[in-house]
Amino acid sequence: MEVLKENEEEEQREEEELKALKISDKQHDVERKLSVDQACTPNDVPDFDWSSIDTSQLPSSYKTNSPKEKKLLCIADNFLQQYAHLCPDREPLLLHPINECGVEKFVSTTVRPTLLPYTELFHWEGCASFVSDYLTMEPLKSPIAPPSSLYSPTTILKYQRGNCFDFSVLLCSMLIGAGYDAYCVNGYATHNLCTMDETLEVCPLLRKPQKRQVPKEREKSSKYRVKPPPDLQSKFELQQEAKKEAETEAAREKKEREEEEKARVSQQGPPYPESPGATAETQETEKPKRDPLHGLRVHAWVLVLSGKREVPETFFINPFTGNSHSTTDEQFLGIESVWNHRNYWVNMQDCWNGCKDLIFDLGDSIRWEFMLLETDKPHLLFLDVKEEEELFDRDMDNAEKEEDRRFDMPPSWVAPIQISPREFETRTPQGRKVILYKKAKLEKWAPYLNRNGLVQRLTVYADSHYTKVVEVREWFKNREDKLEMREVNKQTQLTTEHFHPGHLLGLKAHIYTSMEPETERTMEFYNEARVDGLQKRVENANEMTEYFVGRDDFLYFRHVEFGKRVKKIHIAGTRTDINPRPIVQIKECFHRNVEKPADEDVAERVFLTTEERINLTYHLNDKYITASKKNFLKGAESDRKGNEIIMTPEMCTTYQAGSSETDKKQLHLYKLLQKLTEEEKQLKHEVWESAAEVLEILKTREDEAADIKLTVSIYDKERNEERRQEYEAMDNLMEDDLLGQEGQDLDYLAPFLIQTGNIEKMSKGQALCIKDNCLTDFKHRLTHKANIIQAHLQKEVEELQKKDQWYQENQNELSTEDEADFLAYCSETMFRIRVLALRLKREKQMAPQKYLALEEKLRKDPRLNMYLSHP
């Protein structure tokens, strides 16, 4: 009784305190209302009337509370009271807001852990980006108070809109379903975060990948280090120069810093925490004014604890953007409470320094006050029972309380979350979404929404008013030409296209300004997919450079210089387009082939076609600094056709590094020259082919661009028209088959017709005979069938009788088991007998009908009809 009294007293006290609070609140209210109006930034989201939604179709769990839930609500109320009593200066907790049907529901039961059958949603990144894409953001009614209602995730999904709490609950449900240790967080964050304003952020697609500094291999300090040659430069002069330079540098830096400082001061109030994206660069953008509600803006997000699913470190997810943040992120200003589908914890730690110092050990009951005592939290298990009791003593009457706390969280009242593949694919509401970043605009579309396969477009601007376009990047999906991304630099007019593997001729990227042939362009290829190992081809008006990878002949570089196209004499009938540019020079470079000695391994060869020269440079031999060389001059080689080609020593100048004697015989040189000449021919052909290939690629690209086709996966039944037709056809066929089996009558006549032999000419007698034969045969069949059934029946009956007899004889010696067996057997046999009797009866009834039906049919049969009908 005393306890009760105490409780009452406490409640009274609480009420008083609450009143006091209210008064003090009122003082605030005036200020707040003002600021609230300010804070509600005009959002372009059209207003949506939540009161108009149809709740009639919702299941009953949405509309009523089960007894367990009711009890839970009582516990929650009690908890709230105690909390308000213990922490009078803190904001009231969000414990049981009303749902869409106006029923109070505890927040934890709103979380409905669900694993959706999409591979992308097995990871938190996928879930987060899905939620942020799928839902349209609505601001909170009051930016400084948690909402009074919290709708089910299913409703939110249905209408594709919600506030930060709706976002968080949905994301949390999906993450817990996917096995993460995730929690919804009710807390405070910055204005930008709460209003999903990313205009100060650099677009994630534009962020430069952080350069990982590879730690340089530490210089081995060896005692055997060559001393550098004596430095004969004047040290003093150098010093003087360095000094001067340093001075100018310092002056410049100082100036810069001052400017920066000035800009900084003008931009922002000092205490406003600087978001990492917004640095001094954004000088000209209008910097947000100091937020009057800083630290009061309520926000909800998701906390993922480390441990499960190999999450190495605890982190936050902002559900609006789907980005992860470190727990020390300055944009998160404080945490009121967290919950998942099992429990509810109130943060008892001080948040004066944002969330930086918070410790997320929810088992620590001093830092985190739990609502329901949980048994499966490992942290708590380590606590001594006594300690635990002490803990409760601190609160109040423990016996009763403990019972309350051992209360299990009731299952969620929310129906399972379902997302159809169509919805999943379409993602964004109406399949389109626009996000504004700092000097950049990102647009997203659902696949197949655009005819050209466009799914994402990023426009980069030079200014923050989104007027001057600098660069446009477009991403495509499901294109038949495998185009993945196109990047157009509006300033240089340089277009870069990236392709997925699988494009014709292994095209990987194409950088160009115009599609005209023989202009500046670079084509990159998937060299693994090509026989010639071509990786890159750079072209301009009179040069072509090709890079190769992984060739057997160690070639890695080929450079071709073209001359001016000769004004050719037009011979009637020749086509103009086959007029390759004359080749002036071909230069090829090779990697070292370790199997050959360096003196015989060609490093570089240059064919000067106009001068009829071939220059070979060999690889460097070990420890040598000059490379061997051979220069051929083919001038005298073949004056006229038919003339003998004789090798003369003048035709070749050789420099052999390291040996003076030219021990190579002329024969060798001659053979080499012959080989080279042959190869030159081959090479010219190859160059010509390369040029032709470029033309072909350009043409293909033009064709593809003119007629964009999208590929559809063969598993996509909805889009793949052909496939669907095929499928349906197959379905129909199957149905036909089934019908056919049932409907198709057996041709009774066939065997008898065959017996008579000649079908074409039959007398009436014969026909009658056939008919009679057929009918008698059918009659026999029917009687035979009846007989079989009869025989079965008799056999069963006899057996039963035998068994019964045996039972009667041995009744006394039987065990209960045997008896049970016997009874079972009896009932089974009886059943069979019944069935057989039934079939026999039906057979008897049906036989005359069947007989008549067959007779009728035979009469109508065209084969007999023509003989029978005529007199």
Binding site: R225, V226, K623, I625, Y655, K665, Q666, H668, Y670
Partner: protein, 522 residues
């Protein structure tokens, strides 16, 4: 056939024949060229001497780089004079009259050997041909099926032709061969099917199994021996071979007859045991120290060569850069000079280019001088360090050897004491009855005993001294060779480089001289 042989006289491979054969191999214009200037036999890689009625192989020693030799369809009776053709990959001796396989021991690279249609009756003398892949010995006189087992040693043998031998008449020929040569892919020009192989292996499981075991054992033994040999080599490079154990101690007592006699004296056995233990432990110390020092020396040497290599690479790159710069600068100069119309300009350009060449020569030489200086210093450092290392090693070895000697001295004193005591006993005739006669003989008088003990002692000291001397001389020799090598390398390198530079400059100048300039004006 026999008539044909009668008409054509048997030949010996002569120089002319070879010459002709070589010349015939190249075609048309090349043949002319070849005839004109002759062919160096060293450059020939393939040679065909078929259908020439050759009886005896000869005059092939010049073809050092030959990889393919065809001697088929002759009347050769003996495989000979092929010793110098070590690069041979393919040897065709089919259709000859060979009776014995021989003379192939130097052809270790041989992959394809054809002895088809000869008179061979035994597969033998082929142990050196470890790379053999294709072996054709069809149509011979092989009669014993078990000879096939000989071919098991060729791990790379994939194609075998035995058809036409008497042994093929045996029904079991094919399965036997396949079972014993399971790696075979083609037998008698036919693919060995998997099913056939499995069946054959199953059939001869019991006869191949022991073979396999024996082979595996032999292999294991060989490996073990190799490993031991390697270890010993390693110890030898550390100059402490046979010091990890009682080897030295045993050798001290091995030839010591006196010590063996003295061991019979009472108390000597225990003394000997203790002495042995201590001595061996000192040896072990020495051994471990030696290995450690060896590692240190190795590290020092590799450190030096690493740095040297680094310096040389840097130097090479630098030189390369200079030359490339020069070449790029003067790529077109010669052409320009040739094409320039006026004599004066050409002349001035020529002079300019000449100047540039000289300049290049200067730069390269300076660079080389500088490098040579640097390296000289480096080598001096290295020499010093090695000397220090070796001298500390020697000092320590000497210290440990002194320990050994101390032990020996102490042992000697004790032994002497015991001997004297025994002598006294002997004089008193209290000597043990069990002692052998020759030991008794020692105790005739004091001098004999003392002499015996001293002789033993001296012998031991001698052994220790000689071991010590070995270590020291080896270490010194190593020091000398290492430094000598470093120095010699550097000298060679320097000479080569200077030679290279001079050659290059000569080449450039020659090129310049050969350039046709416009005629000077009249």
């Amino acid at each position: 056939m026999s008539q044909l042989y009668n008409i054509i006289e048997p030949n010996v491979i002569s120089e002319e024949m070879v010459q002709k054969a070589v010349e015939e191999q190249s075609q048309d214009e090349a043949q002319q060229l070849a005839k004109r200037e002759g062919i160096n036999f060293k450059d020939v890689t393939e040679l065909q001497l078929s259908f020439r009625n050759i009886l005896q192989i000869d005059n092939l020693w010049q073809f050092e780089n030959l990889t393919k030799l065809q001697l088929d369809n002759n009347i050769i009776e003996k495989i000979e004079a092929l010793e110098s053709l070590v690069h041979l990959l393919w040897l065709d001796l089919s259709f000859n009259n060979i009776e014995v396989i021989e003379g192939l021991d130097t052809l270790v690279k041989l992959q394809d050997l054809s002895l088809y249609n000869n008179r061979i009756s035994k597969i033998e003398h082929m142990d050196a041909l470890q790379d053999l892949q294709i072996f054709s010995i069809g149509k011979n006189n092989l009669a014993i099926l078990e000879d096939v087992i000989y071919l098991r040693r060729f791990k790379n043998l994939r194609t075998l032709n035995l058809a036409g031998n008497p042994l093929c008449d045996n029904e079991q020929y094919a399965p036997f061969t396949v079972a014993h040569l399971p790696e075979l892919v083609y037998l008698d020009f036919k693919l060995v099917s998997d099913t056939m192989r499995e069946a054959a292996i199953l059939k001869y499981q019991y006869s191949t199994e022991p073979l396999k075991q024996v082979e595996a054992q032999a292999l294991a033994q060989l490996e073990e021996k190799q490993a031991k040999q390697n270890e010993l080599e390693y110890h030898k490079t550390a100059f402490v071979e046979y010091l990890n154990g009682s080897f030295l101690f045993e050798s001290m007592y091995g030839e010591d007859a006196e010590a063996a006699k003295l061991a019979y004296l009472p108390g000597v056995d225990d003394l000997l045991q203790a002495y042995r233990k201590e001595f061996v432990s000192v040896c072990e110390n020495l051994f471990n120290y030696g290995l450690k020092q060896h590692e240190k020396r190795e590290a020092e040497v590799s450190d030096f060569y690493e740095s040297l290599h680094e310096a040389l690479t840097a130097n090479q790159e630098q030189g390369r850069k200079i030359i490339l710069e020069f070449e790029n600068r003067n790529k077109r100069t010669l052409d320009e000079i040739q094409n320039v119309s006026s004599y004066d300009i050409a002349e001035s350009k020529l002079a300019e280019y000449n100047e540039d060449i000289l300049q290049l020569s200067e730069t390269l030489m300076t660079l080389e001088m500088q490098t040579a200086d640097q390296l000289e210093e480096l080598i001096k450092d290295f020499e010093r360090n090695i000397a220090v290392l070796v001298s500390t090693f020697i000092e320590n070895v000497q210290g440990m050897m002194a320990q050994c000697r101390d032990l020996e001295n102490r042992h000697h004193e004790k032994l002497l004491e015991i001997s004297i005591n025994t002598l006294e006993k002997s004089i008193k005739n209290e000597l043990d009855k069990d002692l052998p006669d020759d030991v008794r003989m020692l105790f005739v008088d004091e001098t004999t005993v003392v002499n015996a003990v001293n002789a033993s002692h001296d012998m031991h000291l001698l052994k220790i001294d000689s071991r010590e001397g070995d270590i020291l001389s080896n270490a010194r020799r190593w020091q000398a060779s290492v430094t000598e090598k470093a120095l010699q390398n550097e000298i060679d390198r320097n000479r080569n480089r200077v030679k290279e530079i001079i050659q290059y400059i000569d080449h450039l100048q020659e090129e310049l001289e050969n350039t046709e300039t416009p005629e000077p004006p009249e």
